[in-house]
Amino acid sequence: MRLAVAALALLGWLAGCGQRSSVGQAAAELGRFQRELQEKLLDAKPGEIIEIPAGRHVLDRSLSLRVSGVTIRGAGMNATVLSFKAQRVGAEGLLVNASDFTLENLAIEDTGGDAVKINEGERITLRGLRIEWTGGPSTRNGAYGLYPVRTRNVLIEDCLVIGASDAGIYVGQSEDIVVRRNQARQNVAGIEIENSRRADVYENDVTLNTGGILVFNMPNLPQRGEGTRVFRNRIYANNTANFGARGTPVASVPAGSGVVINSNDSVEIFDNELRDNATAHIIISSYFSTGYMTNEGVAKDFDPYPEAIHVHGNRFSGGGDSPDGLDLKTLKLAMFGLGGRFPAVLWDGYRDPKRLQGGKLPPDLALCVRDAGPVLNADGPGKYRNPSLTSEGFDCTLAALRAVELER
């Protein structure tokens, strides 16, 4: 009897306690989670696995890791959520300056800047992550979802990235890269490979972005990119209005672009399904067409011309019927009429005059476009006065690029 009374009293006390302090307790809990996670990151040893339990964890500061050989693992991309909606400090959610790093099976939401940035490192694995800005497309969203830069040997797989105001998955100035089986939605650029060497981008599902997959080279950087393969991807209905801040490279991308190559070399695009991208399925362009070319601001040794581009064996349907921007709309109307559509491949018409031999690029630098119908040459060098639809010179083949081997 006495025991029962005591138990009842205890129950009453517990209930009262719970009611009294639920809010404060929640805040304290969250503060404690952040502190403990930061401590784990500070004290991490090589080989360590930091497990983050299921639950919605609120953080107000960016996290950083500087120890190599660490794995951070959640309980699933919908189970373990790190929410940075209340972020007050730090330019990214997680900043990593380390090698042999794995981040997997969790979600990072609503970071003020980039969600995950890895600056310098080798053997980077990002797997099964959900990166999301939960309010949908907005210029206020952070720039990059997954952002390895100056890294070597990078694997990004089975991730879902939504809402980045620049690129959902952005691999910059890196080497030996595999980006596969990811979903990229409602970003300005779904997936972007920039100034990187040897990248394989395949089996991704890329839709509702402004531009699906971008392969770019920017000037004034220590590393120039080349050697990207884009294959077996589904790239469809990337027609979201461009919500990138002006001045960013992706702000120059017209909504409705499937794949955009800019100033990059040795790019092979094959076996993709391209559907309903309203400007064009594939755009091949030079730095002149970005609007960022200046005499003073671009290093003299920068090569703005895309070369050795190989487009073959893709499946196209729909698209090209509602290009973005007044100029492209006018061009479409003039050439194809109100109900017409652009062809699958658009080219801005720039070629390096120093490379031309008898008016053509040498075979190993050629722009080869097969299985795509005629190409629309927008005649950029002629100030867009004489755009033309042509197959001439495009019916060629380049040696297949080698698969990226991460050896792991």
């Binding site: 952040q34 502190r35 930061q38 500070l42 500061r61 960016s62 950083s64 500087r66 007050r88 400090v89 730090g90 330019a91 300056n97 970071t111 003020g112 800047g113 600056n119 310098e120 210029t139 206020r140 720039a143 990059y144 830069v149 105001s165 620049d166 952005y170 910059g172 000037p219 004034n220 950087l221 220590p222 461009n242 801040a245 002006r246 001045g247 960013t248 490279p249 702000a251 120059s252 017209p254 672009s257 755009i283 362009s285 067409s289 609007g291 960022y292 200046t294 005499n295 003073e296 601001g297 671009v298 290093a299 921007g325 007044l326 100029d327 492209l328 801005d348 927008a378 950029g380 867009y384």
Partner: protein, 425 residues
Amino acid sequence: MSGRSLQGPQSLQGPRALARLTALSSVLALAAFLAGCAPQEAQPVFHAERNPATLAEWRLLQIRAGVLGPTDGVIPYELNTPLFSDYAHKLRTVWLPAGTRAGYGADGALQLPVGSILSKTFYYPRRDAGNAAGASQGALRATAEAIGVLAGGRLVLDQVQLIETRLLVQRAQGWQAVSYVWDDSQRTARLQRVGEIIPLELAGIGKFDYVVPDINQCAACHATDVKRATLAPIGLNFRHLDREHDYGGEVGQKNQLAHLEQLGLLDVAARAESASSGGSRAALWGDESASLEARARAYLDINCGHCHNRQGPADTSGLALDAAETAPIALGVCKSPVAAGRGTGNKKFDLVPGRPDESIMVYRLAAHDPGEMMPELGRSLVHREGLELIRRWIAEWPGAPGCAQEASNSARQSASSARLSRSQG
């Protein structure tokens, strides 16, 4: 206020009790005692492995008669142009183990031996300086005036609010960073590894989050070479140190390098070499007698150059703002941003000569948002005076490069036009 060191009650009583002894025998006993063990004048302690729980255990600073100052052998210093940290003032000190001295690295950076400790105490002048009782953290001042500072790097505690003391410790495995946060009573500073957000208020500016970095975030600035990823001091460099400092006492006003040399703490011969290898003295950013160019570059160097240099974490941007940089493109002239995200502020170029309002650099220095602002860490407030300096530097740029026209054209275009293929011809 009575003499008080940071060691706590035991050591408080030592000096004062002993000072009262007058008998000869007692003096003799005292001498024997001093020679034996007790540190009479606190000496710094190098903790080779662990960071102790309180700042006091390093014995770098002590409080006597309401004044915080360096302990014996700990040398205060200041920089020609300092990093902006939300208008905080900083008391900097350097200590080298007995019998050692510093040399110069190739870039003019002082090379310190293992066992060396740097400290930087962040504090604000109180609005009600002079009235210690009950001065709250909500009544601090943003002023360049040296309020509450005595010669020799000493702070009058009832005139200032101490916030944190950061240390850089040269251990066998390299430089390591740690921060100690002061309590409200200004008696104890405790180890804070994971950082902290401290709400403060500055008169005339308002409330803001003062951010104590976590230990990893220290590297955001101090790992100036992203590949090596090791930490290094930033201010302890020929170009920042070459200036006068008021040491008080017999030394008085003296050049900081000369003082370190005279104390035997700095290699005299190496100095001339360092000076000749491009280590020219940095301007004081607020010194109207210096050229605008020199002041702006000194400001960018100390505020941005630790990341924005050709080996730094921001080498990914192609923008280099350290003192050694000379290429206009690397300084941002007519250069497109690479990964600025919405930090572009809808502007096309990092720096448009003659057009501060069209320059991303100005936009990001004026931004508050963590996703847009520069520097990314270390400030919550905009440095209005520093921003004005950079604005003037850009506004008064000689010549007018072509991107000035380009930038203003694009400013007039709507966001939906000006797109790839043919709209920008």
